[in-house]
């Protein structure tokens, strides 16, 4: 009950955030120079044709009418049509979501699998070689630029050693799984896996480094708290103290970071997707930017905004169930 109320509150706040994103994007478009009709029919087009296009896309209406129309459209899930391809924006966004999600989740999984154990080792062997190694690794990971790491991985592992394929992936996860289910052959899945490993590492490295550091410092912090002594005094087994008490409490703030990062990964995989020609939202966003395809750009960014808000709400709910003090405040 308390949790339900808490969620409703957060959901209402989220609606305002999304509205803000929509409005900012719309304003940017309204104040940016150039006639969007030029993008559709070209500058040398017949004025008559241009006028027709302006009429068709509603560009002749006063700005507040355009804004009201746009808002109205979004409420019912209509983001308009792409200038470039003329296709529906929502279809163009949704078809790219799976690839981006696959990449973001793969990167997060890699990050958690590496970072949490590394952080725990680092904290429990403080100032020993293992700790220095982990700290060194996370320093490197945080300071390596994404695009450079991606390029180096391609150069070294894909081009030189030939361990991984280059170029755009031929098959998505859904197709690969369908193939596995219908034909029983896992070749598609293997191809998919080979394609996703390098981008996932590239995207997840910064994240891995960050979580390692957070786990280490959070755990050291937690180990210094008086309740740990009290728990030791009870005679509990060391592993139970370390995992049930200390690590659990360490993970509470990390869950927040994880959630926020997942949002960033969905929106921020732009560079990685470009480097690996990954057919995701970031890749499409770059195309839209280059073509000044405003409806598509707006659609993608509003979608990213909505994902951010939803992920944040899920994280808050998770936080509240991990730390009972949150709801009461």
């Amino acid at each position: 009950m308390a949790l339900g109320k808490f969620l409703v509150k957060r959901l209402l706040q989220g609606v305002f955030v999304v509205w803000g994103v929509v409005t900012v994007m719309f304003t940017l478009r309204a104040v940016s120079p150039g006639d969007p009709a030029n993008l559709i029919v070209g500058e040398a087009a017949d004025p008559h044709l241009r006028e027709q296009v302006r009429e068709q896309y509603g560009l002749n209406e006063p700005i507040y009418v355009q804004y009201a129309d746009y808002l109205q459209g979004i409420v019912v899930g209509d983001f308009g049509y792409s200038f470039q391809s003329g296709r529906q924006v929502e279809a163009m966004v949704i078809e790219r979501v799976p690839a981006t999600l696959e990449l973001a989740i793969a990167a997060t999984i890699i990050a958690i699998l590496i970072a949490v154990p590394l952080g725990v080792i680092s904290a429990s062997r403080r100032n020993e070689p293992a700790d220095y190694g982990a700290t060194m690794f996370s320093l490197l990971g945080i300071s390596t630029p994404n695009f450079w790491l991606g390029l180096m991985l391609i150069l070294l592992l894909a081009v030189q050693l030939g361990l991984f394929p280059t170029g755009r992936r031929p098959v998505g996860l859904a197709e690969a799984l369908t193939a596995l289910a219908t034909t029983g052959y896992a070749t598609g899945l293997v191809v998919w896996l080979k394609h996703i490993i390098l981008p996932a590492i590239t995207l997840g490295t910064y994240f891995t480094a960050l979580i390692t550091r957070l786990t280490r410092s959070g755990m050291l912090d937690e180990l210094g708290k008086p309740y740990v002594d009290a728990t030791e005094a009870k005679g509990l087994p060391a592993a139970l103290i370390r995992y049930k008490h200390v690590l659990r409490n360490t993970m509470i703030p990390i869950v927040t970071v994880l959630g926020l990062q997942l949002g960033t990964l969905i929106g921020g995989a732009v560079i990685t997707e470009t480097v690996f020609s990954w057919p995701g939202l970031g890749d499409r966003l770059i195309q839209a930017l280059n073509a000044r395809d405003w409806p598509l750009m707006q659609g993608i960014i509003v979608f990213i905004g909505i994902s951010f808000v939803l992920i944040n709400i899920v994280v808050d709910a998770l936080y509240a169930s991990l730390d009972p003090r949150v709801i009461d405040e």
Binding site: K225, P226, Y227, D229, A230, T231, E232, A233, K234, G235, L236, P237, A238, A239, L240, Y243, K244, H245, R248, N249, I252, L322, D323, P324, R325, D328
Partner: protein
């Protein structure tokens, strides 16, 4: 030293901290003997080493601290039997020297042989688990311990990451069993928490300080320990709650007959609870004995100073007399081989420049004092000059000895002799 009834004998215990500033001798060559079923009190200022003593017994001294020397003999025939073959040096009759045992055997004594109540209940519970769950864990430790004979316990207490991972998936593999939960509720009821069934499912932040301290006592009792160490159990609580908690400890002690080592800076608590008391100063016990010995027949000027800094309700004594100066540095290099109180002592003599042993003193058989005054009388002609120790006689504005000193007294008053005016100042 050969009374058969001793449950705990600490001999020559030294616990040191190795910090960047140097070696700190928190506890130096401490001797304590605690009889089965008694309440032994240790009283002293902050930084006198009383908590470190407690932690040394519990094996909870944290890095950079280490027990560097000494013996802690614990009387437990069953344990002596179990470890006698593997560690013959650690066993003497039914006594076992805990410091000769490996870490895992010592750890297995926590909760069941020794348990501890901490000063601040609010920070001594894990904030994200219910109180009932945390109590049930303590019960579970005891249940598992008694299900295993002691000889095999240390070996079978393995609980690994895998066991924990398994328990998150399978409820039946959880560490805490439903039986332990029920026992936890009984314990909450025992310490006087109303509506224990509901309270067990609440989190520590939903409890008041006094309730939480009761819950902590319940948790410490869960393992049915032989020795309960209470480290400043009432310091963080309101005065009215303090009295309730002391009553509770009193009742429980009378019921179970357990031994209590009570650590406090509050002489009132000592007078209310203890059978015997040790006064600690700068890492050693400077005076010990029965309550009568220490409160009425005390020899050591430090004990006198502590007692002099308690406000008297009748106001008959006039101004409080704080002990001038501060607790001495415990840095090894700054410690001289002399009586550690000499620089603050109003009766320091030339003899005090040598570190005194413990002398038997006038009171009961238990009464001993680490002061030459137990042997000789104060001789003014041999007194040390005021500035013998340099600038150490500064007003002790920041760190007072003793409890509940009114702060309104201006610091410069403290070096003056007490005025003869009576009453009216501390009502």
């Amino acid at each position: 030293m050969t009374t058969p009834d001793d449950i705990l004998r600490v001999r020559d215990l030294s616990t040191r901290f190795f910090t960047q500033e140097g070696q700190i001798n928190a506890v130096s060559e401490l001797d304590v003997r605690i009889e089965r079923g008694e309440v032994f009190g240790i009283v002293g200022e902050s930084g006198s080493g009383k908590s470190v003593t407690a932690r040394s017994i519990m094996d909870l001294v944290e890095s950079p601290g280490r027990i560097t020397d000494g013996e802690i003999w614990f009387d437990d025939a069953e344990l002596a039997d179990a470890v006698g073959d593997d560690y013959p040096d650690a066993v003497d009759g039914t006594l076992v020297n805990l410091l000769e045992l490996p870490e895992r055997v010592r750890d297995s004594l926590r909760g069941t042989a020794f348990s501890m109540i901490f000063q601040d209940p609010e920070s001594s519970f894990n904030p994200t688990l219910t109180v009932g769950e945390q109590l049930a864990e303590a019960v579970e430790v005891q249940r598992r311990a008694s299900a295993n004979p002691r000889s095999t316990r240390a070996r079978t207490r393995e609980y690994s990451l895998a066991s924990y991972a398994l328990s998150t998936v399978l409820p039946s593999r959880k560490y805490v069993t439903p039986e332990s939960r029920e026992r936890a509720i009984e314990l909450l009821e025992l310490v006087g928490i109303p509506d224990p069934v509901k309270r067990a499912d609440e989190y520590p932040h939903e409890y008041s300080g006094g309730m939480l301290q009761r819950a902590m006592i319940a948790q410490a009792l869960a393992g049915e320990p032989d020795v309960l160490i209470a480290d400043e159990p009432t310091t963080a609580l309101d005065v009215t709650i303090q009295a309730q908690i002391l009553d509770l400890l009193d009742d429980l002690q009378a019921e179970t007959g357990m031994t209590i080592l009570l650590i406090t800076h509050n002489l009132g608590v000592i007078a209310r609870m203890c059978d015997r008391v040790g006064v600690m100063y700068a890492g050693e016990i400077v005076e010990r004995g029965t309550l009568a010995d220490v409160f009425d027949d005390h020899v050591h000027p430090y004990t006198e100073g502590l007692l002099g800094s308690i406000p008297d309700l009748e106001g008959a004594r006039g101004r409080l007399e704080p002990i001038p100066g501060n607790v001495p540095s415990l840095l090894d290099e700054e410690m001289a081989d002399r009586c550690r109180f000499a620089d603050r002592c109003p009766k320091a003599m030339e003899d005090c420049l040598e570190h005194p042993p413990e002398y038997p003193a006038a009171g009961s058989d238990h009464h001993e004092a680490r002061c030459v005054l137990a042997e000789t009388t104060y001789d003014e002609t041999r007194a040390l000059s005021e500035d013998h120790f340099g600038e150490t006689e500064r007003p002790a504005a920041d760190k007072h000895a003793g409890p509940e000193e009114p702060d309104e007294e201006p610091p410069e008053e403290q070096s003056h002799p007490p005025t003869e005016t009576t009453g009216g100042e501390h009502q």
